[in-house]
């Protein structure tokens, strides 16, 4: 009979604003998926269970689990905090409903926060009171819940959802998979075996039977001493055996020490490997982030300068936007200046100036063509305007000369008007060209401006997105141990750890050999003692010793058998799950093998189909390896595992090749699973999920899909998460 989670609701819990009814997720048997981008309530969802089971949440800023009361203010929805006036209160909580075959339960955990002061983010501004846990139950026949009052019963109901010692295999975040089955820790598999078997019982019996064997031997020896005649050889043999046993004890103690040393060194090596690669990754990302940031700032500056330059285009002669709509000015002015010139030169003519050299030229402003061009055309005897010959002596050539000389000539002009403004008007017309000769292309210029602005903006947005991705990646790298260690120190420590592993491994071998020899000696001496004992000893003592001795051996062997059987079973299931998880990946083939290390710890190795050990495989494979072992623990649970899986799946770490296999396998192993993912989110898609996501939700085992969204473009205090139900 399985526990099935029926619903999870939130009240003013982080980005989930509103009452329980407003943010309620209903779940069913089978696979349930909640898709959410980072920051859209994914890990918060998960925090609800941390609260339920442990009265804690995971602080996303420093990745440390903290007590509810300690971080209460951070938990309350910002929008709700903002809406609570000083003196008023707001309630924050989580509510979970689940069913077993017979009963349905509703559990509510909450606290009330009263606002005391202005600053809503300060812990001093709020008074926090944790409310009583509410638990209601109903059988599936009656519709109404009835409250449960007894405190112990309440706790049992909460515990029952997922039993404590199985929680770590059933309820975890992406990175935790790594630590649940920490291949560097001997204790990982041992713990799993312990959870699944009664190995502790056997261990008790082993120690008891050993103890009884000693006692039986002592009793036997006492009898022997009091019964037999003085028997030197017997005496000697007994002493010898005691000697051996003492040595054996010592060697066994040493063995344990070296095994511990080996384990510690191995653990350190693994940590350093992880640390080192983390430190390297971190540094890599830091460099990338710095570069990207610089780029972002550059483009941001470029963009904002560009925006500010837009209005300048009105007055800049290269764009001349100000002229838009004034197309007529050019022709109107031309008309007027021509009329002006006619009358102007008529006046001049009226003053009887002979041979007005300018008469013919009054359509051309004084410096057009300029004297340099004129000189060129004269010297080369060619007109560059119409591209024709102008040989010396020809009419055209003479005309050039006259044009070139008129500037000089006009100085000799007698004044024929009071104010000669020809230069003024002509000057305006020439100078202002940049402002009237491109009016027709202004519309185009405006369009191009918009296009450029959009392009810059898009570029900026893209860069910012890329920067965010890098920063998110950086934030997710957990560093344990000292952050300031430089690469060389880490390498030295690493080498040291490996050395210690090697030397302790060697010692372990040596000691095991010694111990083996001692045990053989002890056995032989024992045989000797047996034959030397007098026959007067009461049967009972002999039998007692015999039985106790045999039982001590048999119990030890039995314990080992139980342990090894379970390990084999785990290996079998792990392989089954592993095959399922990797079946959509081209690299499939090969299997998982469990091996014992010198210290007795268990290692998981991936052996390819040629029998070779595969190391350093891609991260996706590593994750799948671990995940298969976790699932094996569930399958090997001899009471068919009845608890839901709640997992935050870092599908990007799995790799898309594994994602399909993951969902299939999960559906088969767990009666109900609730998987939180962000990698299937696509904000530009209509359904908000990407292609892979659409494929997955078509699967038969997938019963429910929610997509979380955060309201965009609003201030922090207005940020809330809403959900869409896709299936």
């Amino acid at each position: 009979m399985a526990s099935i989670i029926n619903s999870i609701s939130f009240k003013n819990f982080f980005n989930y604003y509103g009452d329980f009814e407003d943010t309620r997720y209903d779940f069913e048997e089978g696979v349930n998926i909640v898709v959410a981008d980072n920051g859209a309530g994914k890990s918060k969802f998960f925090n609800a269970f941390l609260w339920l089971f442990y009265d804690q949440i995971l602080d996303s800023d420093d990745k440390i689990k903290k007590g509810i009361k300690d971080v209460a203010v951070k938990i309350i929805s910002d929008k709700a905090k903002n809406e609570t006036a000083i003196g008023d209160s707001v309630e924050t909580g989580i509510q979970i409903e689940y069913s077993t075959g017979r009963w349905k339960y509703q559990i509510t955990k909450s606290f009330t926060a009263t606002r005391l002061r202005e600053n809503i983010t300060s812990f001093d501004s709020w008074q926090i009171i944790i409310n009583d846990i509410e638990v209601n139950q109903t059988d599936h026949i009656l519709p109404k819940y009835k409250p449960v009052y007894d405190a112990e019963e309440k706790n049992n109901i909460i515990k029952q959802l997922i039993l404590p010692n199985l929680r770590q295999y059933s309820f975890f975040q992406g990175e935790e998979v790594d630590s649940i089955i920490d291949f560097g820790k001997k204790s990982s598999i041992e713990e799993a075996v312990r959870t699944l078997t009664d190995i502790s019982k056997y261990e008790e019996l082993v120690s008891l039977t050993k103890d009884f064997k000693d006692k039986a031997e002592k009793d036997l020896n006492k009898q022997t001493k009091s019964n037999s005649e003085h028997n030197d050889r017997l005496e000697k043999a007994i002493k010898l055996k005691e000697e051996f046993e003492k040595n054996l004890g010592n060697e066994e103690v040493k063995l344990v020490e070296f095994e511990n040393l080996y384990n510690e060194s191995e653990r350190e090596k693994n940590e350093l490997e992880q640390n080192f690669s983390n430190a390297e990754k971190r540094n890599e990302l830091d460099i990338k982030i710095k570069e990207k940031n610089k780029k972002v700032n550059e483009i941001a500056d470029e963009y904002s300068s560009f925006l500010e330059s837009i209005n300048g285009r009105f007055f800049d002669g290269a764009f001349s936007w100000i002229s838009l709509g004034f197309e007529n000015v050019e022709s109107d002015f031309q008309e007027k200046i021509q009329k002006f010139r006619e009358i102007h030169y008529e006046k001049k003519a009226l003053k009887n100036i002979s041979e007005n050299p300018n008469k013919q030229f009054h359509f051309l402003p004084l410096d057009s063509p300029d004297s340099v061009s004129l000189k060129n055309m004269i010297d080369r005897e060619h007109c560059f305007v119409c591209d024709r010959e102008a040989k010396e002596g020809s009419h055209a050539h003479n005309h050039f000369i006259k044009l070139k000389n008129r500037a000089v000539d006009s100085k000799n002009d007698v004044e024929f008007v009071k104010n000669n403004l020809e230069g003024f008007f002509g000057g305006l017309q020439i100078n202002a060209q940049p402002f009237y000769n491109k009016i027709s292309s202004i519309e185009d210029s405006i369009l191009k401006t918009r296009e450029r602005e959009i392009a810059l903006n898009e570029r900026l947005t893209k860069l910012k997105k890329e920067l965010k991705v890098l920063k998110d990646q950086r934030r997710d790298i957990l560093i344990s141990g000292s952050e300031d260690e430089d690469a060389q120190t880490v390498i030295n420590r690493y080498k040291g750890a490996i050395r210690r592993m090697e030397s302790s491994s060697f010692q372990i071998e040596r000691l095991k050999e010694t111990i083996r020899k001692l045990k053989t000696n002890i056995q032989n001496t024992e045989k000797e003692i047996q034959s030397l004992r007098s026959s007067n000893i009461p049967e009972g003592y002999l039998l007692n010793y015999q039985i106790c001795s045999d039982l001590a051996d048999a119990t030890e062997k039995g314990k080992d058998r139980v342990f090894n059987n379970m390990v084999s079973l785990l290996e079998k299931y792990a392989n089954e799950h592993f095959q399922n998880l990797i079946k959509y990946n081209e690299l499939a083939g090969g299997h998982l093998k469990f091996d014992k290390t010198p210290s007795g710890a268990i290692e998981f190795n991936y052996i390819d189909n040629k029998g070779n050990l595969v190391t350093g495989a891609a991260e996706g494979f590593q994750r799948m390896k671990k995940f298969s072992v976790v699932m094996a623990v569930i399958s090997a649970n001899t009471n068919k595992y009845n608890y839901p899986l709640l997992a935050d799946a870092p599908l990007s770490a799995f790799g898309s090749a594994f994602t399909e296999g993951f969902f299939e396998a999960t559906g088969k192993v767990f009666p109900q699973s609730i998987i939180l993912v962000n990698d299937l989110y696509d904000k530009d898609d209509e359904m908000k999920i990407n292609e892979l996501g659409k494929k997955i939700i078509k699967g038969d085992l997938v019963k429910r899909v929610y997509v979380n969204q955060v309201t965009e473009g609003v201030e922090q205090v207005e940020l809330i998460t809403t959900k869409i139900k896709l299936k």
Partner: protein
């Protein structure tokens, strides 16, 4: 944790069964009556450990089985 299961697991050693003339371990139970001293001693250890008797107390019971002091 099933006592019978533990009993059978520990005794599932062919040589041991031969030595102590145990025919079929699948029918073995940790409850009396006992046909076999080995089985009896082991059963007592398993049962009384469950009942939280101390090791000295358990050992005394064992000695009684053999009628020794």
């Amino acid at each position: 944790m099933d006592r019978n299961q533990v009993l059978r697991e520990i005794l599932s050693d062919k040589e041991l069964c031969e030595k102590y003339k145990i025919k079929d371990i699948n029918t073995l139970t940790s409850n009396p009556p006992y046909n076999n001293k080995l089985v009896e001693v082991l059963s007592v250890i398993i049962n009384e450990n469950d009942n939280n008797l101390s090791d000295t107390q358990i050992y005394k019971r064992i000695k009684n089985i053999h009628n020794i002091g």
